[in-house]
């Protein structure tokens, strides 16, 4: 399998603050790659470095096998980029903007016209005749995807494409990303884990400037798979007693607890405690571990 993007040993400091610390990342071709990290983890910094917009201190980046050099744009011909807060010329209409983008990329006139029409339909802006200054955030985000895909990039990089949107807008964007997967490789950053679960084939968890875990979503799930149990007690005081007895149990509500099957607090230990202490239970359930608990577990290591 071809690698669309390979980052090795990327290091970046702003002043005395280390933002990226020996970051390694490999994005396989035709994947939908979820780049997960908290606010300030360094997602935008990584993406801007890939685009040659930021200078790295050390490390190498290869896009489609070609090395990225700061300040140069040759490797960007493989990349379509949607920034975190996309801003377009407000005095243009969507078709005018796409035409402008096509011309500065060096596309042929007829190609620009055909491709613009196709993409505006894909993102649902085909009937829009107003200038961009009147666009909502969702519309800007959709135009952003259209401009990023215009010259058929091999790699589509989207920086938190869904963060500012409502659930309906989010679903629309995710559907579009899923649709374009056949044409390109998608790398998108997010901190919304349900988005990742919905469309990603691969993920990487970014924490404190390094990638802690990465790989196929399915593999990661299997590797970190532990049975997860949800326990609801009748009284809040009992939930507290359980948590004191088993420190690894997490609280999800005043009387709702979650714990994973592991050597230390195996489900039977908990159940024995419940029986011995005669704790009335409302519910006990075995659940598929969510990406969130997986993420938290990775971070705790």
């Amino acid at each position: 399998m071809m690698e669309m993007l390979r980052i090795t040993g990327l290091h970046k400091r702003f002043g005395d603050k280390t933002v990226l610390n020996r970051l390694d990342l490999t994005v396989p071709e035709h994947s939908v790659f979820g780049f997960i990290g908290k606010n300030g983890a360094g997602k935008t910094t990584t993406m801007k470095t890939v685009l040659g917009l930021l200078k790295s201190d050390t490390g190498e980046i290869f896009v489609n096998g070609e090395q990225v050099v700061y300040g140069e744009t040759v490797t960007n011909r493989h990349i379509g980029y949607l920034p975190d807060v996309p801003e377009f010329y407000p005095f243009m209409t969507a078709p005018e903007y796409l035409r402008f983008c096509g011309e500065i990329t060096g596309m042929q006139k007829t190609d620009i016209a055909n491709r613009s029409k196709e993409l505006l339909e894909l993102v649902g802006l085909e009937g829009e005749r107003h200038r961009i200054q009147g666009f909502s955030r969702g519309m800007k985000q959709r135009l952003g995807i259209a401009q990023a895909l215009l010259n058929r990039p091999k790699l589509l990089i989207c920086d938190e494409p869904t963060s500012a949107l409502d659930p309906v807008g989010r679903k629309e964007i995710l559907d579009i990303l899923q649709t374009v997967r056949t044409q390109t490789t998608v790398l998108f950053s997010t901190h919304i884990l349900s988005d990742v679960e919905r469309i990603c084939t691969d993920v990487a968890f970014l924490d404190q400037g390094t990638v802690r875990v990465q790989g196929k979503l399915a593999d990661i799930r299997t590797k970190y798979r532990r049975e997860e149990y949800i326990l609801e007690t009748e009284r809040e005081a009992d939930a507290l007693r359980l948590r004191t007895a088993f420190p690894a149990i997490r609280a999800e509500g005043p009387n709702r607890l979650i714990f994973c099957e592991s050597g230390k607090n195996a489900v039977f230990d908990v159940l024995r405690f419940v029986t011995e202490q005669r704790i009335p239970l409302l519910k006990m359930e075995r659940a598929e571990p969510s990406l969130e608990s997986l993420f938290l577990e990775v971070l705790e290591q």
């Binding site: 685009l51 930021l54 200078k55 807060v85 005095f91 243009m92 011309e103 990329t105």
Partner: protein, 256 residues
Amino acid sequence: MNAQIAFLRKEIMEQTRSGRLMLLGVLFALFGIMNPAVAKLTPWLLEIMSDTLAGNGMIVTTVTVSAMDSWVQFFKNIPMALIAFVLTESSIFTKEYQSGTLVLSLTKGLHRDAVLRAKTTVLVVLWTLCYWGCFGITYVYNAYFWDNAVAKNLLFSVVCWWLFGLWTVALMVLFSVVTGTNTGVLLGTGGVVFVSYLLGILPEIKVYVPTQLTDGNALIYGTAGTGDYTAALIAAVVLSAACFAVSVPVFRKKQL
């Protein structure tokens, strides 16, 4: 080449659709009309006031105005027009830095030089059109009411002022690529022009600084000859060229 034309077309579209072209056009036309109008109205105004003035013991003799008065007005008002021009266009680069629109275009393979060329061209052409439009209006009215021939070195004096404006445009470009904020552009451009003005107060240095070019009155009255402006002309041309030349490498390396 196509990319260059596309970006230039975008710049022109921005000037027209944002209304800035209209604003500057109206402003410079108004200044152009105002110069002869003020000259024409002066005797009339004095006549209205003459009764009051006579009551105060002042005797008003009939004043005759000529094209000269209109040209004096021209050189008095054109600095305000230039200031309006600088204020209107100072954000031509910086707005794009702040909104991130430029970054997006650059990631698509647009060359930075093309951006610099397009924006510089728009500024130079716009200043030239506005300035000569304003001059043209004043010239035509003056020719209609009086006779432009009374002003000595007229063409030379207005070319000097145009060149001074061009130098200001060059400073705007330089400070746009060096500083990156609107305030930076205004402070930088204003600061350098002010320093040039201060230096111009010293008699030994006066003829070497570009602000010398703004003294059009001395030329049209004939108290100064064209030779007195040669050094300042050369200085303005060399400094403008230097500003444009330095902007290229600075802009190529600019962190956006």
